[in-house]
Symmetry: C2
Subunit: 463 residues, 2 copies
């Protein structure tokens, strides 16, 4: 007999009255000497199916191993439920116990656990309601991303993780080596002899796939990346991971307005897709952690984003009369408090700021004619501030080269990138979205370590 | 006026007779003093759109920069083509040149290039027909994979790339560190003091997400991974990359038969999806590189895979009368020549071999009652041999622990994995597919460096 998943047992009304086979993990068991009730979960949904054991048919001994965390296989009749809170339940006919979970040592007993404690047992936390919900929402969002770009003719480009460039400048990097650190080869000057390393030179883990993404876009038209990215900063904050996933679309023939249109459509699509496909999980998370969650998600989906320049934004902040922790004036990088003021208090809508001072943005952004600003765009969200950063790219070879030289970026890392501007250069644009930022926003969780299965942070590389 | 992509210009009959805007890169220009023909490509399809310049309307000077590799924007009337080989063409009304491509220095002139040469300019090769086609097929296959698992309720699980375990045993690993190699901290014994490294201990790049995948499957039910994986072996072969992408589904409550069913359905689905969605590109690759390509793909899609045990397979090989380079008998690992004999000559169908000797398979595979074999399964394909490797997993705590101790795997790396068998263990299975192997098979390319955008191999980490 074929097993039916819990998600299907609960939603397929045609199954009522038929014999079914359910497999899963016991969340709780309660009852009396006449009847025992087991809440069974198999990971396919946040919801449990109730199994009813008529104790005239089963012995106490048989049910004894059926404790929280144990795994069982139950055959029985699926019937409409008399109890509150569930639509149907299984009247057990037979029981097989696959695996026990010792009550003394199994850490996930019925009582609630702090998120901090669950981080220490990240190998088991996907078995909790919270992390089951978060990981399903994460998976739903990942699929939405692929679907969005696929439907629009973008090619998914796998950019490399190991890189010999150190020019990306987006952050500190992890070195990658096969040299024996306890027995390093040295050159004549006593320095490490990298000619003997695996790639014949120093290599590191990438901080961004954008530059390679531009190579793809200037050949295939529209591409996106979606892969792991690394930062070796020693930042122990609820907003930073050492290893995280990033989405970086890059589009030939897109100017900054096309770029803003795409970014707005993209992020709305993903959030809406999650609301449509993971509403049970999101509702659970709302009830547990964040009462305004669904309203906030709908607020983003249903509002046009306000678009204005950085200069206009700074002016609003200066004239707001608000005392910010970090003073703001033209030229400063905006802090989360500034971004949230604009979004949550001034406009009460998501905001896209454009045309930032070139000094606070990356070398590859298209320079405006004012000589002071670049065609950057940041998308700002309630609750979290910046969620997307992007720009139109500088497609003029001479201007790009001048900026690279001005900033002292080593040309050995740049020749191949400059070739895109030497040969058939085109107007193009792109942006980056930190995937975990999006998952944070959609799940309402507040610590980024709780939206990735096995977080890597300073001092932490368990599991 | 809004740009229309070439793929849409060529297929949307409703556009014929209307004014259109096309943007892209010039592949070739030819003609005479009365009329000039430009083949324009924008990466959206292998096909070019022909632009016709009536030289009564344009000057030679205007067209001078329109050389191979330059980028242009053309407005004009889309009309049915009189020429052979194209359905429609654009009669140019206006021309804007975005970027030139100097004829002396642009490496991708009209003449053909060897794949070896193109590997040296991997930053530009996506602009060629071959690599455009390969990268679009790669993207199509990636989407097929996500779609397949999504439709079946699998959760996409992002397993970590940086790992402190060295137990996976699937291959040599790259070390990841933030220590300054020219100024290493040492402990009292003169060894590297890893307590000062980023994670407080030695870390490396993962060779497989499977063990973490099992953590996901024993919570969420069915999961899959699809991410980068690394091997630091010094293998310079057409079949090995140092950085590649792998798909690893893992399913609770699946036995080896369920696993085989899924693997067969999965790989057929992906190949069929590529045939349906990337036929232009596959047809081009067939014409250029591999005359039997589409027949071979259909052969796999349309045949039931033969299933037999390793023992039966070895018997067939022994009795074949064939002289193999590597002699074969029970207990030897099968070589590609053996696998291909079974698939291409004996059965003339894809083959799934099961129940391999435990000595040649990994510690986590479920042990059969004969004490000699494990519930492994390898899927063997024409042309390339093994494409998928998997197994039912050993779910019995004592048997798994005994095997781990037998093989001397360090327990510090194993406690969290063993917890899945201590707490609510379930029968489960999974498999792994090297993504580039699948792309090789579907594109008919023969060197794995030609099916990933920017290959990493010993000594090579460019771009």
């Amino acid at each position: 007999m074929k097993r039916t998943k819990v998600v299907d047992l609960l939603k397929d009304a045609a199954l009522i009255g038929s014999e079914v086979l359910a497999k899963g993990w016991v969340r709780t068991r309660r009852g009396n000497k006449h009847v025992q009730f087991v809440q069974l979960n198999d990971g396919s949904t946040i919801k449990n199916i109730q199994i009813v054991f008529d104790m005239a048919k089963f012995t106490d001994e048989e049910l004894k191993p059926v404790t929280t965390g144990s795994s069982i296989c139950v055959r029985g009749l699926l019937v409409e439920s008399q109890g509150k809170g569930q639509t149907c339940e299984i009247q057990a006919e037979s029981l097989e116990v696959y695996g026990t979970a010792d009550v003394e040592s199994y850490p996930l007993q019925k009582k609630g656990h702090t998120l901090e404690f669950l981080r220490e047992i990240a190998h088991l936390r996907p078995r909790t309601n919270t992390f089951g919900a978060v990981l399903r929402v994460r998976s739903t969002l990942a699929f939405a991303i692929h679907k969005f770009f696929n439907e629009r003719g973008f090619q998914y480009l796998h950019t490399p993780l190991i890189t010999a460039s150190d020019c990306e400048g987006a952050g500190a990097m992890f070195q990658v080596t096969t040299l024996d650190l306890n027995n390093l080869p040295k050159d004549e000057e006593g320095k490490v002899d990298y000619s003997q390393d695996f790639f014949g030179k120093p290599t590191a883990l990438t901080v961004s796939g954008q530059l390679e993404g531009e190579l793809g876009a200037t050949a295939l038209g529209q591409i996106y990346t979606f892969g792991p990215t690394f930062r070796a900063e020693n930042s122990n904050t609820p907003r930073h991971l050492s290893e995280f996933w990033m989405i970086e679309p890059e589009m030939a023939f897109y100017d900054i307005t096309d770029n803003m249109d795409l970014a707005e459509e993209f992020v709305k699509y993903c959030i809406n897709y999650a609301l449509e496909h993971s509403l049970d999980d999101i509702t659970f998370l709302q009830e547990m952690y964040d009462k305004d969650l669904i309203d906030r998600l709908k607020f983003v989906v249903n509002n046009d984003f306000v678009r204005l320049s950085y200069g206009e934004g700074v002016k609003i902040l200066e004239e707001s009369g608000r005392k910010f922790e970090f003073p703001v004036h033209w030229g400063t990088d905006l802090q989360s408090e500034h971004e949230r003021y604009l979004v949550e208090e001034h406009f009460k809508k998501p905001v896209i700021l454009t045309d930032y001072p070139k000094e606070i943005k990356a070398f590859y952004m298209k320079q405006n004619e004012d000589g002071k600003t670049v065609r950057a765009m940041d998308v700002l969200f309630p609750h979290i501030g910046e969620i997307i950063g992007g720009s139109e790219r500088e497609e003029n070879y001479d201007k790009l080269l001048a900026r690279i030289e001005e900033l002292g970026i080593p040309m050995k890392d740049m020749w191949w990138y400059l070739d895109t501007r030497r040969f058939g250069t085109v107007p193009h644009s792109g942006f980056g979205l930190g995937f975990e930022r999006l998952v944070l926003f959609v799940t309402g969780m507040t610590n980024i370590r709780d939206v990735i299965p096995f977080p890597r942070t300073p001092g932490k590389a368990e599991f």
